[in-house]
Amino acid sequence: MLGRTLREVSAALKQGQITPTELYQKCLSLIKKTKFLNAYITVSEDVALKQAEDSEKRYKKGHSLGDLDGIPIAVKDNFSTSGIETTCASNMLKGYVPPYNATVVQKLLDQGAILMGKTNLDEFAMGSGSTDGVFGPVKNPWSYSKQYREKRKQKPHGEKEDSNWLITGGSSGGSAAAVAAFTCFAALGSDTGGSTRNPAAHCGVVGFKPSYGLVSRHGLIPLVNSMDVPGILTRCVDDAALVLGVLAGHDPKDSTTVQDPVKPFTLPTLTDVSKLCIGIPKEYLAPELSSEVRSFWSKAANLFESEGAKVIEVSLPHTSYSIVCYHVLCTSEVASNMARFDGLEYGHRCDIDVSTEAMYAATRREGFNDVVRGRILSGNFFLLKENYENYFIKAQKVRRLIANDFVNVFNSGVDVLLTPTTLSDAVPYLEFIKEDNRTRSAQDDIFTQAVNMAGLPAVSVPVALSNQGLPIGLQFIGRAFRDQQLLTIAKWFEKQVQFPVIQLQELMDDCSSVFEIEKLGSVSLKQ
């Protein structure tokens, strides 16, 4: 039952094959079994049980609220959840319990979804590995998959198996792992530079970033307001569309959401792709791109072409400026957004009370990790009066050029762009931490981040397994507010590639004894 998609399990609930509380129990037990993945920061066991029971009553009365009623979901721990601790994986917000729900959370709950818990991330979503949060790194479920383990057995290695687990990617690694490990049927991530799509690609799930302005950010603790979008992680494209249908639409509490009424997102099954034009941006053929990903990328292009679609090479000439431009804009907004964490109204406060300034300084030093503090410092530097023109204004101009690149390509008749999501498959943690967060973020966001600059919808779809037996995802980028068209094409593609299901269950049973004795010093699961 847990291996099913959201739509499938929703149908099972409606047909009475399983009840919401049974489903909840199964997910909860799996969350406990996979505790070692560190996917969840908080498991909202009691609240979820109540929700499941309420849902069950509705089903018994025949008053189901819809497709999401009784469906276990997870939410990244940077979305405000009323009565449930929301930490952003930071010391700064440890113990902070918001008094309100983010609009997207409220919408899911209004549809009867069961909130299993809050998922792990990089502190304040700053990172591309889900390794830099105060609750420790998230482990990629594929590290324990039959597919990956069998490949590794073929190769001789001296090192201990368990020390070589893989990262999930980030920053929504907890959400991606939660969906990949069957602990829930959909999860919310956030996507500022690729934070939903990157871990989706590494964890073999669908990661969807909607158009900016389509989904409310109210209650999402911001990284970069002008780029943040709530992301959706599911096991198939149809499920992402279903969740998007619930989340999309104007929110009076978020002035940047579009006013236009949103139509329901049911995806037609595409049979004919011959009228489509797929663009392959030549600038995305980066030297760092692994040959494997590159080969799957061209296979995908060939697939479209062989089915009659027009596949053309296009140019997004300002792509190479995206990383540095993003760095300026992101750190500037971070410097501004983080200013509210001063220890006065909420969150961490240090013991120093010599003066207000001393209290601020110590609170912020204790509350933020090096990555956050580094970005705050850079951002404040860029915003200084003497630097503003040279950095912030220039970056804004470059951002416009990057956005225009996409406009030009789409105006030339391209329906969607097809690109890699990540440079390679997931790397081992020990490998990943050899580089610092900044270098990693700059490398790993290369294919995903320009989309956020332009506010476009994009989705990462798992394609196949690498030689190592690890998932590889490809990204489709659509026109602004053509989310449905984008997902329709992604759905067709998904059907063609038949990505294998992660084989986790049997191994988990075998491994659980191993993991129980493993020291989980960095893991702090809160109940």
Binding site: F79, S80, T86, C88, L93, Y96, P98, P99, Y100, A102, R217, H218, G219, L220, I221, P222, V224, N225, S226, P252, K253, D254, S255, T256, Q259, S332, E333, A335, S336, M338, A339, R340, F341, D342, L344, E345, Y346, T356, E357, Y360, N380, L383, L384, K385, Y388, F392
Partner: protein, 558 residues
């Protein structure tokens, strides 16, 4: 916090000043921006240390002061600029704080339509150019009563720019001489108000109230002095002035200080200063970090604010979602300058009287209501309203009856979230010590326009004398509910119509005061006034002085 604020920047208010000597007080007029000149004597030059002699010049030269005002005015709206929480005067601390106001992470600003309309209307009233597109910016600084660490304001592209306000002041040799001046307005911007810090010195704690719906006006004055024809001097900023009176005092004092500093060879520092109300001078403020860099950046959560006029209004636009400048223009009330002009034309009123009528809230309405109901001369009405009625009000610290606050328009707009945003947990917001005492405005006047109108009609019909009228007025003040006619008949204040009886009184007075009669006969023309007064007193002010004078003159000449 987050009470909506309008900020007006007045730029380049100049006036020319000179001092008698370096230490003496320079002159100033009755209002801001007054011109006065005095000659500066030689003595001050002698006081100057040699080392800075090159900075001063011998002989006479004038100082020019340049003053720019930044006026923070609270918009009269029911809810705050960016949140749905209410705005009330003297509400208990932190009782009107939404999640946004407390800067809870993840909350976003939503612009209040009413505040935008008020800003547009202010812009129109001040002859500004209204920007069809304006932007919001974040201004960063750390302060305990600024929970977000930044203030949302309009730095780059404000809602209105380039306005002017013509105003008149009574100045010159004759008190009735009115001079019209123009002040230029640089910009009007919408900005969020910060919270309020309350410092508890005893426990060395600062308590924060995030309601911030108090203090409707706050002015920062930027001041510099220079010699005409030379570059502008270094400016100082005197912050947080909350009344026109203190503003004028602070500016005068700061100009005087700057001139004194410069004439003594010292330099003016670019600094913020505060005005010490007790000492009557400005003091440097404790500037902890030196010059602030506010690190302005665009507010990413508010799209550009777009305004329309009838020509540019998109067809089929939802009227709840757009603001039409022309529509607001049509609803602009008559501006004070127009009203004053009308008063002068319609009633032949002196310009200074038209000012006086408009300077007191509700007084004009009171005046107009009196005029409607009486046939007394407008001049008479003006004189009574301004001299007697207003005098009484001021003496008793009362307000005009009509001044009861005009009803506020329903402000909750489609711009702000229609839902009422809940309140933060008191435990999360820092609390203040106690609820501030409820503040009552002045009581309204007990004399209604109808009563005064009736009284003036009695006077006009010569049913009572003017001194009797004053008695009636005093009685009206004391005994609420009685009409002037009732008082007149109760107190028997009717004018004596019986000429024979009056003649008898006159006769008796003359008999009793032969010395005064002699004075009149010797040609002392003033002495007759004394007789008139005595007769009036004898008649308990019930006689018409002109009639008395006639009778007396007749008798004296006979």
């Amino acid at each position: 916090m987050a009470a909506p604020m309008l900020r007006w920047c007045y730029l380049g208010r100049r006036w020319v000043l000179a001092c008698i000597d370096g230490g003496s007080r320079h002159g100033r007029g009755a209002a801001i921006g007054f011109t006065s000149s005095r000659k500066r004597g030689q003595s001050s030059v002698a006081q100057q240390p040699l080392i800075t002699a090159q900075k001063s010049r011998k002989g006479e030269h004038k100082w020019a002061a340049v003053v720019g005002l930044e006026i923070h005015a609270q918009i009269s709206s029911n809810s705050k600029l960016f949140s749905g929480s209410q705005v009330h005067f003297a509400a208990p601390p932190n009782s009107l704080v939404s999640f946004f106001d407390a800067s809870l992470p993840g909350t976003l600003p939503v612009l209040n339509r009413r505040c935008v309309e008020a800003a547009v209307m202010t812009g129109l009233a001040l002859s500004c150019r209204i920007n069809k597109k304006s932007l919001f910016d974040r201004k960063h600084y750390f302060y305990a009563d600024l929970p977000a660490g930044y203030q949302i304001t309009q730095q780059r592209l404000p809602i209105a720019v380039n306005g002017s306000l013509a105003y008149s002041v009574c100045a010159g040799k004759k008190p009735s001489q009115v001079i019209t001046k123009t002040v230029r307005i640089k910009q009007i911007q919408l900005e969020q108000d910060s919270g309020k810090s309350l410092h508890d010195e005893l426990r060395s704690q600062t308590l924060i109230d995030l309601n911030r719906a108090e203090g409707q006006l706050r002015v920062d004055a930027n001041i510099s002095v220079h010699h005409p024809g030379e570059p502008l001097g270094v400016r100082t900023e005197v912050k947080n002035l909350n009344s026109a009176r203190f503003l004028a005092k602070a500016i005068d004092s700061e100009i005087e200080r700057q001139i004194h500093e410069l004439e003594n060879g010292r330099e003016i520092l670019n600094e913020t200063r505060s005005f010490d109300y007790k000492l009557g001078c400005t003091m440097p403020m404790r500037d902890k970090e030196g010059k602030q860099d506010y690190r302005f950046m665009p507010e990413p959560n508010l799209p550009p604010l777009l305004l329309y006029d009838t020509a540019s209004l998109p067809p089929g636009a939802d009227p709840q979602q757009v603001i039409n400048i022309d529509w607001i223009r049509e609803r602009l009330p008559e501006l004070p300058s127009e009203t004053r002009e009308k008063l002068v034309q319609q009633y032949g009123m002196l310009p200074e009287h038209s000012f006086a009528l408009l300077n007191e809230v509700g007084l004009l309405e009171f005046f107009q209501n009196v005029i409607k109901e009486t046939r007394a001369e407008p001049k008479k009405v003006t004189s009574w309203v301004l001299n007697i009625f207003l005098g009484f009000l001021k003496q008793q610290n009362l307000a005009v009856n009509e001044s009861s606050q005009s009803p506020r328009s329903p402000a909750r707009s489609s711009f702000t979230s229609g839902e009422s945003v809940g309140r933060t947990d008191q435990k999360q917001g820092a609390c203040c010590w106690s609820a501030s005492e409820k503040c009552h405005g002045p009581e309204p006047s007990p004399v209604t326009p109808a009563a005064l109108a009736e009284l003036l009609s009695l006077l006009d019909r010569k049913a009572i004398s003017s001194s009797a009228a004053k008695q009636v007025f005093e009685e009206l003040w004391r005994s609420k509910g009685k009409t002037p006619s009732q008082i007149v008949s109760e107190k028997r204040l009717e004018l004596m119509q019986d000429e024979e009886a009056l003649e008898r009184v006159c006769h008796a007075v003359m008999e009793e005061h032969p010395q005064v009669v002699m004075d009149v006969k010797r040609g002392n023309s003033r002495a007759i006034n004394k007789l008139i007064g005595l007769v009036l007193k004898a008649t308990l002010s019930r006689a018409d002085p002109t009639v008395i004078k006639e009778i007396l003159e007749k008798k004296l000449s006979s």
